[in-house]
Symmetry: C2
Subunit: 336 residues, 2 copies
């Protein structure tokens, strides 16, 4: 743990693996490191495949390392999560090759997560990995997710600032809208803005934003344990309202990156000034707590259930002798 | 309950609402009806917006009602699920207007589910609604889902046969592949096959299928309670392997619908002959059981937790006085 706090990259990589795999050592490390978290700005970058999202993340990392204008470079970590198919896992890793010029930089740490499994499992593992990097002193943590489905929405909830990436020519519709991710986007980027159709994509995004706007969207509780009473369920959206800007970039040429970094900084300042930072911290940590608590309850229940009982109950269900609710009643009554 | 079994549509609609809303009456009704389920063929139809999936579902329903060739018409139910944004909810309802010619047919029942909330909640509510329709005598139940994210994958797990709908011109990539839905598709349809680019879409689908093929994909356990030991975790894929066919349709003109129905029937016969039907029944019901059990454990825990304890634990977490794991330990120890 001290080695991680001291910036030992080997110790960091080892701890990240332990944490990602949910080992006992990982839990101990995380409990020790947790008190050192809370300093990083967590930026989620999400969008469908083909939007050039990975190039954009690479450019952001490069700019944070070489800010120019006499600004100080920031410590940057990139966490790439692909919660979908094992068959597409190679894409993210392939993109990482383009980061070779950053690979020797001790101020950059790149981690690809290949985790599969339940949604809660991925969100949990990502949260834990991000906490370790936060404790290790990385100031900007870029969480890159592929696609725009429910998984990405869940992972985006881990971030303070969510950047949604679109590109011209990916179809008549803005794919992201279908998955509700627009509702949680803080900064919208039309990448590949040198391609034809950029105005159409921008117009579609703007139209959808106007539609989504009536809702105080950041404070819908999406945690798995939504039934647990939360103090902030009725929280008012802090004034003033943040209007998500729509920016154009051409990541492979480095165009528009400065503007994007300014927007991310502006959003951070907005969160600080409006009380939004604290609300998001609360929401993030409550979501994580709820997922961990649910997993623990299920594991505890399983360990108390006599051998064979679950299997017998499943047979009663398959034989239509008991309904799903009746099976649940029976199992819960048995363990007490 | 007797009224639902006797085919009373008003009683059916009322029961579906009770079940969807998770009321006590709904639970009682479901337990009574569950013994009458297991007869319906559940067909999931999923695909991104813009693929013409709803028109396809309408045409399927029409063909099952007017089969021609001296075949008997089937009782058909359509369950349309939009687990994503409330802003797109109108699309499905709008499409339903095109079904006006089926609206007076007592052999067709259409239900749109506007459920939001947790993933488990949607899958659970959809499973329950499908069971009521099954008990009520609907032989073909078409479960239509929008998009191709994780939610759709979860809902597709409720079906015996999953139809994935694509269309030419929705981008260079096959969007569905990113979400892993290709791995659970039994029949692939390129709708709007009169548009240019149909060959490209077909080729992309075929290439992705070849990539996905090595995996005995239908028997990966996706249930939320994946840690519960399942008898079938090691189940072998039954021989012979089903090769998902790729079909062309133009739903608005009714072209290719007969071929699609034949493919769905062939898949049903394959499941019957290979033992796949029983394996899918087991998997479906186990997934449902696991979700219900998890929800019950969480609710039970919450009711036993003294007032204010959860909120205090959350404050300890926010103040970095305790790590997430330590908070979970504390809460679980308290309830015992």
């Amino acid at each position: 743990m001290q080695a991680v706090l001291a910036g030992d990259r080997l110790a960091l990589a080892r701890t990240l693996s332990q944490v990602e795999n949910g080992t006992a050592q990982g839990r101990v490390a995380l409990s020790g490191l947790f008190g050192h978290t809370g300093n990083a700005h967590l930026v989620g970058v999400t969008g469908a495949s083909g939007t050039g999202k990975s190039s954009l993340v690479n450019q952001l990392a490069r700019s944070y390392r070489h800010p120019g204008d006499g600004k100080l470079p920031r410590q940057v970590a990139v966490v790439a999560v692909d919660p979908t198919s094992p068959f597409t896992g190679g894409a993210i890793l392939g993109d990482r090759i383009r980061m070779r010029d950053l690979a020797g930089d001790p101020g950059v740490f790149i981690r690809s997560m290949a985790t599969r499994g339940s949604l809660g499992g991925i969100a949990s593992a990502t949260a834990a990995v991000v906490q370790v990097l936060d404790a290790a002193g990385y100031e900007m943590i870029l969480i890159e997710t592929v696609g725009a489905g429910q998984s990405e929405v869940e992972i985006a909830h881990l971030a303070h600032t969510t950047v949604l990436v679109e590109a011209p020519g990916l179809g008549d519709d803005i794919q992201a809208i279908k998955a509700g991710i627009l509702e949680i986007a803080d900064v919208l980027v039309v990448n590949k803005a040198d391609l034809p159709g950029v105005e159409n994509t921008e117009r579609a995004l703007r139209g959808s934003l106007d539609l989504a706007h009536p809702m105080p969207h950041h404070f819908i509780h999406h945690g798995q344990l939504a039934s647990v009473p939360a103090q902030d369920d009725k929280a008012e959206f802090p004034q003033p309202i943040w209007e998500p800007p729509i920016l154009r970039t051409v990541a492979i040429e480095g165009t528009g990156i400065t503007g994007l970094i300014e927007a991310i900084t502006a959003h951070r300042l907005h969160l600080d000034a409006s009380g939004g930072w604290e609300l998001r911290e609360r929401w993030r940590l409550q979501t994580e707590l709820d997922i961990l608590l649910t997993n623990r309850l299920v594991e505890g229940f399983r360990s108390r259930l006599p051998a064979g009982v679950y299997e017998q109950a499943l047979e009663d269900l398959l034989g239509r002798r008991l309904s799903p609710f009746q099976v649940v009643d029976k199992l819960v009554d048995m363990v007490g």
